[in-house]
């Protein structure tokens, strides 16, 4: 048996680890990976909450939560495609993937 609280806390923690990674690394590709982790965490939340709603009586909530998670996956895929394309473009332009060296625009 899983206590749903634990699942939700796991979601928050995974989000936090992803966030820390995204803030700490300078490698654009890694940041993108970390963002994917955060989206996964959100999906965990959705599923847990859906389950929680089902457990506490509002059974119809279970499906929307999971459907939302499906759409998040879809968008995540789209985001990764575009993100990698943008990163590749930068790499071709400057030969750099570390974002702290990408700062022509400032001020």
């Amino acid at each position: 048996m899983i206590d749903l609280h634990h699942a939700i806390v796991l979601g928050v923690l995974l989000f936090a680890v992803g966030l820390y990674g995204a803030l700490r690394t300078t490698n654009a590709v890694r940041i993108l990976m970390c963002i994917e982790l955060m989206l996964n965490a959100v999906n965990l939340n959705f599923v847990s909450f859906a389950r929680l709603a089902a457990v506490s009586g509002t059974a119809q909530a279970a499906v929307p939560g999971q459907v939302f998670a499906i759409f998040v996956m879809t968008v995540a895929a789209a985001e990764v495609a575009v993100g990698l394309a943008i990163i590749l473009q930068i790499v071709r332009q400057r030969g750099v993937v570390h974002i702290d060296r990408i700062n022509l625009l400032k001020g």
């Binding site: 966030l19 803030l23 974002i99 990408i102 700062n103 001020g107």
Partner: protein, 679 residues
């Protein structure tokens, strides 16, 4: 058509015209549009378009004035404009006696200036733009005078501000006009913001922008005394900016950087008068607050004396006139502030004519000798007869020599101040009258009389063309006679006209009494008999002193200066107000803006560097701590110093990471706010 029918038609015209009074500002507005769109095609013919439009407005203004005389009651026109929730806004014009008088003054001065500019600005590279802006300005001023609500008044007010800005900076190739235009714009905006708040305040209290309605609810006691006082003072702040009253007077002398006709039109006769007009127009609000009235009177009186002292030491022809304008505007405010409504408006009218005249003569003189520096002039009376005599008329009118225009109106103001019982203000006003006569005599002597001090310039001097002297003559004549309608000789006709019951809808009976009383009422002939000699005496004394120093040279100017060195320096530097503003407002705000820029750019980096410095400090204090806790590989003080050096070099920005951190830090703070509320 029989003669009878013609007469009937003529009689029917005024009401129709008064109901379509929008035509008066519309003509110059149309001229502006035409000039703007057919800029290139028109060439110097733009001047004809502008002048024709203003002359048209003048004709209509005269007709409206006559019509109003015949009808005998104010006429409003206009209609529904928009609805704001429960509030319905009207947009309209109204012609009452105050408006009609102002209409006349504005269109006459404006027409004179237009005609004068045709010759004066000839050959200017932005000739069309000049006339276009002048037209727009005239249109805005006419609309302001006719507006029946604060919203239209505010719109016209702002448009005038913009035109003034463009005209002052007309010769923007030079640094001085550029700076001056910016200074004028910024300084007046300080007052404008306060004024807008005042208007909003009145609006929120009464639910209308209509001046008559607001005045009425003030009279009927629907507004609390505190509200009236605050609103009136805020409105007055706008007037202080526009009419160049202390402490926002600094822009006007600098505004002389614009072409001289502009100085005459905007910075002597009309735009600066808008502030005084605003106070007059909302007099029904002011008079219900003794505090506000006193504020107006004190600021006005102080400005009058303050600027007059500066005018005595200026050596630039136009700057003398500019400070004189500031001073005279203060005079008007003083008159209004002590309850002399008619006196203040009367002086506004006469001053418009002779001050426009004086400015235009200064233009004529500089046209001849190529400078405004009065110490390089002298003896010009012989060469420029028309200019000299018209100038003399204007100067005498300003100095208050009977029976010229300025005498009558100044006398009325002095009488009103005397009647109010504020003795200090009265003697300040008398001192101002003395100084005014003194500096005008000084100016006359230095420019027109005596021996030429600059041979070369004198040789080249010549009278100006007819297009310039013509307006001078017209205005000169007005400077002589414009005071008569308000004078005792004509039984204070102007006073009765302005009073004729409807100028200030909602003005309480007490208000009427106060105005009438101050002008020529219960204080009686005793006061008049006392005040008039004082007025004449101070003016004559001023002229005598001035003539003694500058005409007869009984006292050498240099020794005078030496004797009064500290005061002279203080006056000469205009009491250091500009310097004060520079130190107190301008520099700090520039610095603040820069700091904010730096802050925003580098907030995170700065934080990083700051934290970094702290880290280095800490590690210096406890090298072990650095080794164990923060870093496994690095190494004490030396490395820390190097790191600090790098950090300093690395003060660059644009780090996307810092953006992301800010994003989540912001989200965290928002959550913190939530928890705060949940607890």
């Amino acid at each position: 058509m029989t003669l009878l029918e013609k007469t009937m038609a003529a009689a029917a015209l005024p009401p129709a015209l008064l109901e379509n009074i929008w035509l008066v500002p519309a003509l110059p507005l149309a001229s502006w549009v035409v000039i703007t769109f057919f800029n290139r095609r028109l060439g110097e013919r733009a001047a004809h378009v502008g002048t024709a439009a203003v002359l048209g407005s003048l004709v209509l203004a005269v007709a409206a004035f006559v019509g109003l005389l015949r009808i005998g009651h104010p006429v409003s026109s206009g209609g529904h404009w928009l609805t704001l929730g429960p509030v319905e806004l009207r947009m309209g014009f109204t012609v009452d006696s105050l408006g009609a008088v102002m209409l006349l003054v504005v269109s006459i001065v404006s027409a004179a200036v237009h005609v004068y500019s045709v010759g004066y600005m000839h050959g200017d590279r932005r000739y069309q733009r000049y006339f276009g802006t002048l037209s727009l300005f005239t249109s805005a001023m006419l609309a302001l005078v006719l507006a029946d609500n604060f919203l239209l008044l505010l719109i016209s007010w702002e448009v005038m501000g913009l035109c003034s800005y463009l005209l002052i900076g007309h010769w923007f190739e030079q640094a001085w006009p550029r700076m001056a235009s910016m200074k004028a714009f910024m300084t007046t905006r300080v007052g404008d913001v306060a004024m807008m708040i005042g208007i909003w305040l009145l609006f929120t209290q009464t639910g209308t922008f209509n001046i008559a309605d607001i005045t009425r609810s003030a009279a009927e006691g629907h507004l609390g005394p505190a509200v009236i006082t605050i609103a009136a003072v805020l409105l007055f702040a706008g007037a202080v900016g526009k009419s160049a009253q202390f402490p926002l007077h600094v822009w006007l002398p600098d505004a002389m950087a614009g072409p001289t006709p502009v100085s005459a039109l905007i910075h002597a006769a009309t735009m600066v008068a808008a502030g005084v007009y605003l106070v007059a127009r909302s007099y029904g609000i002011f008079m219900h607050s003794a505090e506000a009235m006193l504020t107006v009177a004190v600021i006005g009186g102080f400005t009058a004396l303050f600027a007059a002292t500066i005018a005595t030491v200026m050596t630039d022809f136009k700057k003398v006139l500019a400070y004189s304008t500031v001073s005279q505007l203060g005079y008007m405010m003083l008159g209004l502030g002590v309850g002399g409504f008619v006196a203040g408006v009367f002086h506004l009218v006469t001053h418009a004519f002779f001050k426009a005249l004086l400015f235009l003569t200064s233009g004529s003189v500089s046209h001849a000798v190529g400078t405004f520096e009065i110490h390089e002039m002298g003896g010009l009376a012989r060469k420029m007869k028309v200019t000299f005599w018209t100038f003399l008329a204007g100067a005498a009118a300003l100095a208050g020599i009977p029976p010229l225009a300025g005498f009558w109106s100044k006398d009325e103001i002095l009488l009103a101040v005397f009647g109010s019982g504020y003795h200090v203000l009265f003697w300040m006003a008398v001192a101002t009258a003395f100084l005014t006569a003194y500096y005008m005599t000084r100016l006359t002597c230095l420019v027109f009389l005596g021996r030429p001090r600059d041979r070369h310039r004198y040789e080249h001097a010549h009278e100006s063309p007819l297009s310039m002297t013509g307006p001078l003559v017209v205005l000169g004549a007005l400077a002589v006679v414009a005071g008569l309608p308000g004078s005792a000789w004509m039984g204070h006709w102007l006073g009765h006209f302005l009073d004729f019951g409807h100028t200030l809808p909602g003005l309480s009976a007490a208000g009427h009494d106060a105005a009438a009383h101050a002008a020529h009422g219960a204080a009686g002939h005793g006061a008049a008999a006392l005040v008039m000699p004082i007025a004449i005496g101070s003016a004559v004394l001023g002229i005598l002193v001035g003539y003694a120093v500058y005409g007869l040279r009984l006292v050498r100017r240099e020794s005078l200066i030496r004797a009064f060195r500290p005061i002279y320096t203080l006056f000469k530097n205009k009491y250091y107000v500009d310097e004060l503003y520079q130190v107190v407002f301008v520099r700090p705000s520039v610095r603040l803006a820069e700091m904010c820029g730096i802050f925003d750019n580098r907030v995170i980096d700065g934080l990083v560097n700051g934290v970094g410095a702290v880290t280095v400090e800490t590690s210096a204090a406890a090298g072990e701590f650095d080794n164990i806790v923060i870093d496994g590989a690095v190494n004490g003080l030396a490395d820390g110093t190097v790191a600090a050096g790098r950090q300093l070099r690395r003060a660059h920005t644009g780090q996307v990471q810092s953006y992301m951190v800010a994003l989540y830090a912001g989200a965290a703070v928002s959550l913190l706010a939530l928890l705060w509320f949940l607890l």
